[in-house]
Structure formats: structure tokens, C-alpha cells
């Protein structure tokens, strides 16, 4: 399979695809999009995206990875729809270098917008081509043929032909070129429905699903002994005593401060890791600043910054004449995957094979090649699902460490499992952020001026293009030069309000903070929307307006107004509680989402119980309604946990949030009930939605707390102050 798939991007000449549509005619087909999805433009052959198998089923290729978001099912749905197959007749091959298209990262809620749409066009083009081939073979015009469940047959009855017979072992190598007639949406049987995911059936049986479940003959186990903090260097360790205590160790790998153990038995590697942790001596580190909460804010403000103007409109002169000013804060937060990161690596016959749950299998391949000194063609990375990651967690780092071990100990599959402490201490967190807002209201309660200043570290240090972004690159004897670099734009995601305000000034100040950071679900949008939507409530009160109405009056986009007005109808308030709302359009360009929360505050215990949360979401064309619901429900619950509980803590030495006791997240007794309404708009473009609820959920809770107890809390996590 590996070699036979290599040519899917190679040009083999272009066959013109005619307009034979079978069951529907071009006239009733949906209007053509002006542009094909970008992934399709880069991989423009049909067989880059799908193949017909010998048994007539279809295998679809995606450059994305299943991360629990249900993308595998959504992609199967669009393919099955265009080709009129049953769901069981479509299998989805997740990202693997050399096999699937290179679609970069599975991130930013973009998999539906890109991958699923590429598959849709490729499948539609395949349909057209298959109809044309069947027409020739059967000697019947395409208009008199129908396609169903992989068989093409004359409408009038008679001899039929299936996909596999038509292709006879060949694949469709035609370019997908506009115009590609898509199936009319009013004929959909699968898209827009709550098609159940089939992987849940396998999960409940304990079938192998995750990278952690991979087993290869002769596979061995490994653990890494990470330094006691970010900067410590390995001075020495007593190898002889470790070898004596653990006679079965296969290898102790040392390269600068990179220290790993390999053994046939996993428990032995864990014991050896512990022994080495006690035995190794490390250089004394530069002190981290022991800063949490308010002192961290002062520290951030004191750091040198690089300032960028994000948006400017009209005129604003300083803060003079502003009606209201407020400062909001969000601490460092961790991804906190339930399954710590894991990878399997094998170095064999000049090729490095890696199995990884990285969100960017292709970009990872390229930096791994640099890290271990091989040409990219000699590195083969297979994407295998892991535990939900919600952004850039330890997945790439553990893969890099496994790759280094494999180079040092070739010929065996090496399974490297990070411990809970490895993941908690070394994953790149979501940056702490400070948001200063001020605004002016006119006498009608309309916002005229809006000033927003934001302090943030970067929100993207994924390894793509920079080997220095991989954790072990810094541990090596010859460390890779260069600084960790990243995508800074994530900080000001949703920093600009979606409201109609004549004068606006939005600025970001970038700092280099004390902790390792990267992309966490929603990037800066979580904190920006928390600040903007809390502030909108403060302004609404000042203007003497109801929070729904105040927002609606400042919105021009009908779809935005609709999610808010629909939400009003869902919320049930109860005596002794407070309800709050918030709205955002994710990235100001993707899904619309309005969230409400009802909370109960116990002033004595200073505790907040989030009882119920509601969301209304408009993601344009919905592919799988249950998938969208599930993502939105989960997004609200996760965001509630961030908002109420979470803050990465550290002292002068290192991270002190080392496990679920020192970094608690929601348990069942804290989790709210959730209810989601979807506004499906089949005629509109499908919009990314997996991160849409994070920001509004936070602000809705803070606004509800204010209603419940009169305390406006602007610093997260949300703690009720001592009165």
C-alpha cells in the first residue's frame, strides 16, 4: 500500500469529466462554489482522497486525525452521501505520511471546513466519472442510470455493474476540477443527521483504538527521566548501580541531558525511571519566579513586550471620557489529556517509523527528520488516535523522544509512555493573559468607543518548521540552536468585538512568559471572549438594559441576533440562583454560539456550583447534528472546569501542578447539566464549531455569578472573595 499510494499526487494527465449526473440533473444541482477547498487544490486527484476497494467498498483518505471530535464519521457521511453508499460501505483512513493527503494540522475547528469539503468534491467527481464509465460499459446514457449502494444500474432495469467491476483494480486518477456538480442538499439521506459513530461500539468492547494500544511482536517499553525543571542540565548519574538493581534493562540512553531507559517489561522501566530520578544529579536552575494570581499580573505587566495594533477604527483619545474600565485575567491552563502522551517508534533499515497521536503528522515528520538526521523520505509517521488533546499537548514531544530512543536502539518497536507527571509538568500550556477594557456609552446606551489592550505569550509553538519547538531538542548534547517560535496571531483571536461600535482600538502586547506554552482549544479566544462578554454585561447594567437586548442592539448580523434570541427561550431561572449569558462568533468568522449558565453561589463556603448550561449554536450546514451537539456540550463542561477551578501553579523550581490533586479538574459532582440547540442552515457553508463554546461559556458563568451574589469576578479561576 505504501508504494502504490505514492503517486496520488503525481500528474497523470487529465481526463475531461462530462456532465453526466445520473439521478439528478445539473440544473437542480447546487450552485458551484467559486473555489475548491484548499486541501483539494493541493491534492487534486480523486485517488488522493478515495479509492474503491476490491469488495466494492470505498476507502476515504483524510489528512486529519480522529481526536474524539467525530471527524471520521463526518467524513464518511459526506463521502457516502455523494456516492449514495451505506455508511458501512465507507471506511476512513486517518492521516499517514505517504498515504493520505498532507492537510497540516488537525486544529482550529477546520477539519469540516477543509477535509470534509475536499472529500465531498472528490466523491462528487468520482460519482461523475463512475457514471460515465458505467454508461460506456452498459451502452446506456448516464441520464438513464442510477447509482445506489455501490451499484450502477439502468433505471429501466437490466444488467448492472458495481464500482469494483468498473475499475477492475484501477483507481480514479482524474483531477477534480470545477465545475463539480454536488448532490442537491434536499436529497441528502445522511448529511445533517445524527449518524452514530461506529468507534464507540468498539470502545465499549475494549478493542484497540489508541496509540497506547499498539502492540508489535518484540515491542519493548521506555520511560524518559525528565530534568527537575525547565533549565537543569544532567551532571551525572550512577549507571552501574542502576544496572545492578535492574539487571534486565536493555539500554540506558544518554545524550546530553536526554536520559531514557528501555526494557522488555514496562513496570521495570517505571522502576528504573524512579531510581534514576533519585540517582541523577542536575545543575541548579535559574530560579523561576514564584508567581501566582495577582503577583503574576504585576510580573507580566513589568515584562518587556512587543506591541501590535490588531484593529483600529475611528478615533479614540486615551481613556478620557470612558464610562467604564476593567481589567480581566486568565491564568496558565493545561490541556490535561486523560491519557498521557504516548508514541511507538522503530528505526529499521534506514527508515524511522513513528506512530503518533500528533495533531500534525506531516509537519512532525519533517522536524523528526531534522532531529534524528535523516532525509524526510526516510521518516514515516502514522497517525493513531490518542486521548482527547484539545490542542498541542505532549504528543509531538513524546514522539520526538521515542524517535531519539529508536535511533539509539534500532530494530525494535519502542513504546514510550509519558507519566501523569511528565504530561502535567512538560506539556505546553495555554498562556496566561491580561485584558484591559474600557468603553464609552452615549446617552441612548449605545457603545461609541471601545479600547482593548491585551497581554499574552504566543499561542502556537507547534513543531512544524522549527525543530527547536520539540521538547527534547533542548536536552541533547548538541542542542538544536534557535529559539522556540510560534504563531502569535492566536493571542488576538476574537480580540475584536463582533459588535457594531464606531470607534475601536485593539492592541496586543506580546511577552515571553515563564512557562512553556502553545495552542490550547480556542487559543486567545477563550480569554478574550471572557473579557469582552463580561464587560458587555457590565456595560448593559450601566446602560440600564437587559443583557440579551443590549447585545442584540449592538449586532447587525441576523444570525448572531438569532442565536441570542433563541437562547432566551431556553433559559430557566430558579430562585436562589443567578443566570448569565454570553455570545461570540468564533474567530469572528466561524460558528455563532450563545451560552447561558445558571449558578448557585454559597457565600459561606465561597463555592460556585454551575447547575445548568444552555447553548444555541449555528455552524452553518451541519454535517452530523449529534457530533456538533457532543462537541458543544463537552466544550461548555470543559470551559466551566477551566473557569471555576483551573490554574497551573509553579514555584521557584518547577511546576507544582503535577497531578489531578494539585491540578484538579471537574469531577461528576461539579459538572452542570447541559442542553444544546442547533440552528441548522443547510444552504450555508459548514463552519468550524469544536471551539465555539469555550469563550462564551466562561463569560456566561461569570455573569451568572454576578447575578447570583453581586460579585463581579474578573480574575480566573473564579473564586468568590472573602467578604
Amino acid at each position: 500500500m505504501h508504494t502504490s499510494r505514492r503517486d496520488f499526487i503525481r500528474s497523470t494527465g487529465c481526463l475531461t469529466i462530462g456532465f453526466c449526473l445520473g439521478k439528478w440533473s445539473l440544473a437542480e444541482s447546487v450552485p458551484f462554489a467559486q473555489e475548491l477547498p484548499s486541501g483539494l487544490r493541493m491534492n487534486d486527484r480523486i485517488n488522493a482522497w478515495l479509492e474503491v476497494l476490491a469488495d466494492g467498498r470505498v476507502r476515504v483518505f483524510t489528512g486529519k486525525l480522529e481526536l474524539g471530535q467525530g471527524i471520521r464519521t463526518a467524513i464518511a457521511q459526506v463521502a457516502a452521501e455523494e456516492l449514495d453508499l451505506e455508511m458501512q460501505q465507507v471506511e476512513v483512513k486517518l492521516v499517514e505520511t505517504g498515504i493520505t493527503p498532507n492537510e497540516g494540522y488537525t486544529a482550529g475547528s477546520a477539519s469540516i471546513e477543509n477535509s470534509a469539503m475536499s472529500v465531498r468534491y472528490a466523491a462528487a467527481a468520482a460519482r461523475q466519472k463512475l457514471m460515465e464509465m458505467a454508461s460506456q460499459k452498459l451502452g446506456i446514457p448516464p441520464a438513464q442510470l442510477q447509482m445506489m449502494h455501490g451499484v450502477i444500474s439502468p433505471l429501466a432495469g437490466g444488467r448492472s455493474v458495481n464500482f469494483a467491476e468498473l475499475l477492475n483494480g484501477q483507481q480514479l486518477t482524474d483531477e477534480v476540477r470545477q465545475p463539480v456538480p454536488l448532490k442537491p442538499k434536499d436529497q441528502y439521506r445522511l448529511v445533517g443527521k445524527a449518524i452514530p459513530r461506529d468507534d464507540i461500539g468498539r470502545m465499549v468492547l475494549g478493542e484497540p483504538v489508541y496509540v497506547q494500544d499498539l502492540r508489535f511482536p518484540g515491542m519493548v517499553h521506555a520511560r524518559i527521566v525528565h530534568p527537575p525543571n525547565y533549565q537543569a542540565k544532567l551532571l551525572q548519574f550512577d549507571e552501574a548501580s542502576i544496572r545492578k538493581r535492574f539487571p534486565g534493562l536493555l539500554k540506558i540512553v544518554v545524550n546530553g541531558s536526554f536520559l531514557g531507559v528501555i526494557a522488555a517489561d514496562e513496570y521495570k522501566t517505571m522502576q528504573a525511571q524512579q531510581a534514576l530520578q533519585q540517582n541523577a544529579r542536575w545543575s541548579a536552575p535559574d530560579k523561576l519566579l514564584s508567581l501566582n494570581g495577582p503577583s503574576l499580573i504585576d510580573h507580566i505587566i513589568s515584562l518587556p513586550t512587543k506591541t501590535e495594533q490588531v484593529h483600529k477604527k475611528g478615533t479614540i483619545d486615551g481613556n478620557a471620557g470612558m464610562t467604564l474600565q476593567a481589567r480581566y485575567f486568565k491564568p496558565y491552563i493545561m490541556h490535561g489529556s486523560i491519557g498521557p502522551s504516548c508514541a511507538v517508534a522503530l528505526y529499521d533499515k534506514d527508515t524511522l517509523h513513528v506512530w503518533s497521536h500528533s495533531q500534525g503528522v506531516y509537519p512532525l515528520r519533517d522536524v523528526l527528520a531534522t532531529l534524528v538526521g535523516l532525509p524526510a523520505d526516510n521518516v514515516h509517521v502514522t497517525g493513531v488516535p490518542g486521548s482527547g488533546c484539545y490542542g498541542h499537548n505532549g504528543a509531538d514531544d513524546v514522539a520526538a523522544e521515542a524517535a531519539l530512543l529508536a535511533r539509539a536502539y534500532p530494530g525494535k518497536h519502542i513504546r514510550l509512555q509519558w507519566s501523569r507527571e511528565d504530561e502535567h509538568c512538560w506539556e505546553p500550556y495555554g498562556s496566561a493573559m491580561i485584558m484591559d477594557t474600557s468603553a464609552r456609552l452615549d446617552s441612548n446606551g449605545k457603545i461609541t468607543d471601545w479600547k482593548y489592550e491585551l497581554w499574552s505569550d504566543t499561542h502556537g509553538t507547534r513543531p512544524g518548521g522549527n525543530v527547536a519547538n520539540l521538547l527534547p531538542a533542548h536536552f541533547l548534547e548538541k542542542p538544536f540552536p534557535g529559539k522556540v517560535s510560534g504563531f502569535s496571531g492566536g493571542a488576538y483571536r476574537n480580540a475584536q468585538p463582533y459588535y457594531k461600535i464606531p470607534n475601536q482600538d485593539v492592541q496586543v502586547h506580546f511577552f515571553n512568559g515563564p512557562l512553556r506554552v502553545s495552542s490550547l482549544r480556542g487559543l486567545g479566544a477563550y480569554a478574550n471572549i471572557f473579557a469582552i462578554e463580561s464587560f458587555m454585561d457590565e456595560l448593559a447594567e450601566k446602560a440600564g438594559k437587559d443583557p440579551y437586548q443590549f447585545r442584540i442592539e449592538h449586532l447587525e448580523d441576523e444570525r448572531a441576533r438569532e442565536v441570542i434570541s433563541r437562547l432566551r427561550g431556553m433559559v430557566q431561572e430558579l430562585p436562589g440562583t443567578g443566570a448569565g449569558i454570553a455570545f461570540s462568533r468564533y474567530k469572528n468568522a466561524a460558528s455563532y454560539c450563545a451560552v447561558a449558565a445558571r449558578v448557585r453561589v454559597d457565600m459561606k463556603k465561597r463555592s460556585v456550583q454551575v447547575e445548568k448550561m444552555w447553548a444555541v449554536i449555528d455552524a452553518g450546514e451541519t454535517i452530523n447534528t449529534d457530533g456538533l451537539k457532543n462537541q458543544t456540550e463537552g466544550g461548555m463542561v470543559q470551559s466551566a472546569s477551566w473557569t471555576i477551578l483551573e490554574e497551573v501553579k509553579f514555584d521557584q523550581l518547577h511546576i507544582t501542578s503535577r497531578n489531578w490533586d494539585s491540578y484538579p479538574i471537574f469531577r461528576f459532582q461539579q459538572v452542570p447539566e447541559v442542553e444544546v440547540t442547533i440552528i441548522d442552515r443547510p444552504k450555508e457553508e459548514a463552519l468550524g464549531a469544536g471551539e465555539a463554546a469555550q469563550g462564551p461559556a466562561a463569560a456566561a458563568i461569570a455573569n451568572a455569578v454576578y447575578r447570583a451574589c453581586g460579585k463581579r469576578i474578573r480574575h480566573l479561576p473564579l473564586v468568590i472573595p472573602i467578604t
Binding site: V204, D265, Y267, S419
Partner: protein, 155 residues
């Protein structure tokens, strides 16, 4: 290394192991079971839950020698021999009670144990019964629905 007889999913396995090895690693590595998962190794998350004499217990810190006379059931052992799902498994599929599903083992095993003790659990009882299990994807509301559905099925 010692030989230990381990009673898992209705069969007895003779296992050659360091008796201090936590049960989780024996189940995953020696018996090639995937149900019990590694999440924290600290009895904090519930990913590694197994039924020990019918009660849900985390297996990640439990030395294998401590359970040699007990009946252990893992996720794999819940379905009957024809792969006919246990009502709890069935309910999780019906409610689509997972996102990444990494936590699902702990949830299903805990729910089986809970329903054995409380056939008609109210919300508070379900929450208390699943309190040891963490889910980062935020699927808890579906999991609660699945447990209620399973209770109804088992009537």
C-alpha cells in the same frame, strides 16, 4: 519473578511476573487487554478501573499478588461470549456517551458496579458512583444519561 494464578474474565491465567507489578500492567501487557487504561497511576482518574469481586477498583497501584484469589472482570469480560453487549455497554453506544473515549472504561466499569448496588440510582447517586472517574472531553452529561438508560434496561 513468581508464578501467579490470575482469574480474569472467567479464565485462569498462569502469569510469570514480579509480584509487585500493578495489576494494570499485567492486564495490558501480559494478557493484551485494552479495556483498563493508564491515566495517572495514582488512583486519581479511574481510567484503569476493573471489577474485583464485582466492585469497581482502580488497578494502577494494586500489586498483582494482592488479587490472586479474586475474580477480576475487565471491559472485555462484560459482553457475553457471543459479543452480546452488557446493558451498560449497550446504553453507552445508544447515548453516544463518548468523545475520545479514553475515560470510557472507567465509566462503564464503575456504572456496572454502581447499578449492582443501586439498581434505581437517582442523579446524586450516579454522580457519587462515578466521582472517581475523570473525563476531560466533558461527556459527563451523556454518561449520566447512559447510566439511567442502562438501569432501565436491567429492570
Amino acid at each position: 519473578m513468581v508464578l501467579i494464578d490470575l482469574h480474569v474474565n472467567g479464565r485462569v491465567f498462569h502469569i510469570d511476573t514480579d509480584p509487585a507489578t500493578p495489576l494494570l500492567y499485567v492486564l495490558r501487557n501480559q494478557l493484551a487487554l485494552n479495556g483498563p487504561r493508564y491515566g495517572c497511576g495514582l488512583q486519581q482518574c479511574g481510567a484503569c478501573m476493573v471489577l474485583i469481586d464485582g466492585r469497581a477498583e482502580p488497578g494502577c497501584m494494586l500489586p498483582v499478588q494482592a488479587v490472586k484469589n479474586k475474580k477480576i472482570v475487565t471491559l472485555e469480560g462484560l459482553a457475553n461470549s457471543n459479543n452480546h453487549l452488557h446493558p451498560v455497554q449497550e446504553a453507552f453506544v445508544q447515548e453516544q456517551a463518548a468523545q475520545c473515549g479514553y475515560c470510557l472504561n472507567g465509566m462503564v466499569i464503575s456504572a456496572v458496579s454502581l447499578l449492582d448496588q443501586h439498581p434505581n440510582p437517582d442523579d446524586a447517586t450516579i454522580r457519587a458512583g462515578l466521582q472517581r472517574c475523570l473525563c476531560r472531553c466533558g461527556t459527563q452529561s451523556r454518561i449520566m444519561k447512559a447510566v439511567k438508560l442502562a438501569a432501565a434496561k436491567m429492570k
